[in-house]
């Protein structure tokens, strides 16, 4: 029974804080993401969304507070927590000199897929992401759109219950972006919990809930609809700007 209560929120940020001297890059950041939810971190550059994101997956150490993935503390049990996590970096960060298949093979093994099941799994993921004709191509020679697809494939190779995407669509054309979000929403329907950072307002609409970041703090959390209502705006962009202005006035 205890196990069940822990698993209600696959992703939890618990008072995450990052301080450099007296400057708070991230302050008092708490949120919980439900299973199958797409949770967006939104904010202008330097608002602390990247830092929060990094602390969530263990790439940066929080000054205080912690994060839990599937109920496992990322600081106390990093390896175990991370095995539940698929991670896709903003910058293409697979091995350029390895071929598409070699990259996927590598990540399959690292994420603990046994050698016997590996081939089937890699074949399957190559099929799903339409990488069949490129499988022998070194990753660095792929065009950007395909690189992103490969990164996503690598992040999903171990069927993680949680997926973290850091600006997954920056620099990608409109069609590939749409394609990408189709993938993301269908994954969410299958019950994968997704944390995504973005600065595209139209993409924010695809998220189930959004946390708006400004100067290291969350200034609003809610569905896109709620946020627009709260700000009295018709589109996300205006809502975004209004909410930021409001928070400035409050101070």
């Amino acid at each position: 029974m205890r196990g069940q209560t822990q698993y209600i929120y696959p992703v939890e940020a618990d008072n995450l804080e990052k301080r450099y001297g007296s400057f708070y890059a991230v302050k008092n950041n708490t949120f919980k993401i439900k299973k199958g939810e797409i949770f967006g971190l939104l904010g202008p550059n330097g608002a602390g969304k990247s830092t929060s994101f990094k602390m969530m997956c263990g790439l940066a150490k929080p000054t205080s507070g912690t994060a839990r993935i599937m109920g496992i503390d990322i600081i106390k049990h990093p390896a175990k927590a991370r095995s539940n996590l698929g991670y896709m970096a903003q910058k293409f960060s697979l091995y350029g000199s390895l071929t598409v298949r070699q990259n996927l093979n590598f990540f399959a093994l690292v994420y603990g897929i046994s050698i016997l099941k590996r081939k089937a799994k890699v074949d399957e993921i190559i099929e799903v992401f339409g990488l069949k004709e490129y499988e022998k191509c070194p990753a660095e020679e792929l065009p950007l759109g395909l690189k992103q697809r490969l990164s996503m494939a690598a992040a999903l190779i171990h069927n993680p219950p949680v997926l973290f995407l850091d600006e997954p669509t920056s620099g990608v054309d409109v069609l590939t972006r749409r394609d990408f979000w189709n993938h993301i929403t269908s994954l969410a329907k299958k019950g994968v919990t997704i944390l995504v950072t973005t600065h595209f307002m139209d993409e924010a609409e695809f998220c189930d809930r959004i946390s708006l970041f400004y100067k290291g703090q969350t200034i609003a959390v809610g569905t896109p609809k709620e946020l627009k209502q709260k700000a009295g705006a018709n589109d996300m962009e205006t809502a975004f700007i209004n909410l930021i202005k409001e928070s400035e006035v409050d101070k």
Partner: protein, 370 residues
Amino acid sequence: MIREFLRRVAALIKKEFITIWNDPKTKGIIIGMPLMQLLIFSNTSTMEVQNIDTVILDRSKSVESRELISRFEYSPRFRGFYYVDNEDDFKKYFDVQKVQIGLNIPNDFSRKVKSGKGAIVQVVSDGRQTNSAAIGAGYAGQIISGYSNDLMGEPDTGINITVRNWFNPNLKYKWYILTIIVSMLSLVTTLILTSLSIARERELGTFDQLIVSPLSSFEILLGKSIPPLCIAMTLTMIMTGIIIVFFKIPFVGSVALFLLSMTISLLAIVGVGLFISAISNTQQQAILSAMTFMMPAVLLSGFLSPVEDMPMCLQYLTYLDPVRFFMVLSRGIFLKGMGLGDVMANIIPLIIIATITLTLASRTFKRKLG
């Protein structure tokens, strides 16, 4: 647990090999550079003084002086001879650095030799090249005293010296230099390979991808140490083979001890390289830091001047230098057939250095996350 651990480490090792092999630059570092340098060093770096050019001012022009000069002419050490008849020309040859040694035979040479009063011959050497000057003058001295002994005709009186050079009977400089060059080259290759490895991944962003994976620091450390170690060992064996086969340098020690001490020496270097790599953000930083380590490490190792000749405080410092032990081991086992006890005395400090640097490196992977 163990199986998963091995699987992850094996995946990392395989990936390292593929990335090293697929990158032409890295391939150059591990194959082209060491073999080319082995060839160049083996033929250029020598401290033997040969082909000495000599200027001769013979004012005596006698049978005796001719005899002395011909002894120089037939010595394998001396090559070019310039005969002059005044001191200005004599000096000129030194000024333009055409000669390293000058021989000045005075007018009264023959007369004094005949009278048995003791003749004087002046040997001038070019002090700008301190070492060759001293050695060249030494050779000249030997020839002259040889001639002098022959004139006296009684070589058995007094003390005669017999010199025997152990471990390298003919004092072939190649024996000395090549055994060290092999270890130096594997050292440089290992250091460059390891110092680039993490820095490159950090530069390309792939290191983040490794950090968010379930790989532990220890697994990353293993995956990052084993491939360069294997490559460096293979390279060492190939180069050792080359110097034994092509340069006819006798390998007198135990092969097992040689391999053991090479592995441990290289492991200590891997530790240093990975530590440098772990604290660097870019490959450029890593290479510069590697060079900063290399220079003093080589100078303190006893490669250029014996450790015993250094000031006391520097001698203590050499105990921190893995290259020092590395050097003693490779030369000692190769040429001397160093025994187990002596080998151990040099291996233990290396094990300590390797443990410290590797631990520091694996700690720094994570510390760097900030």
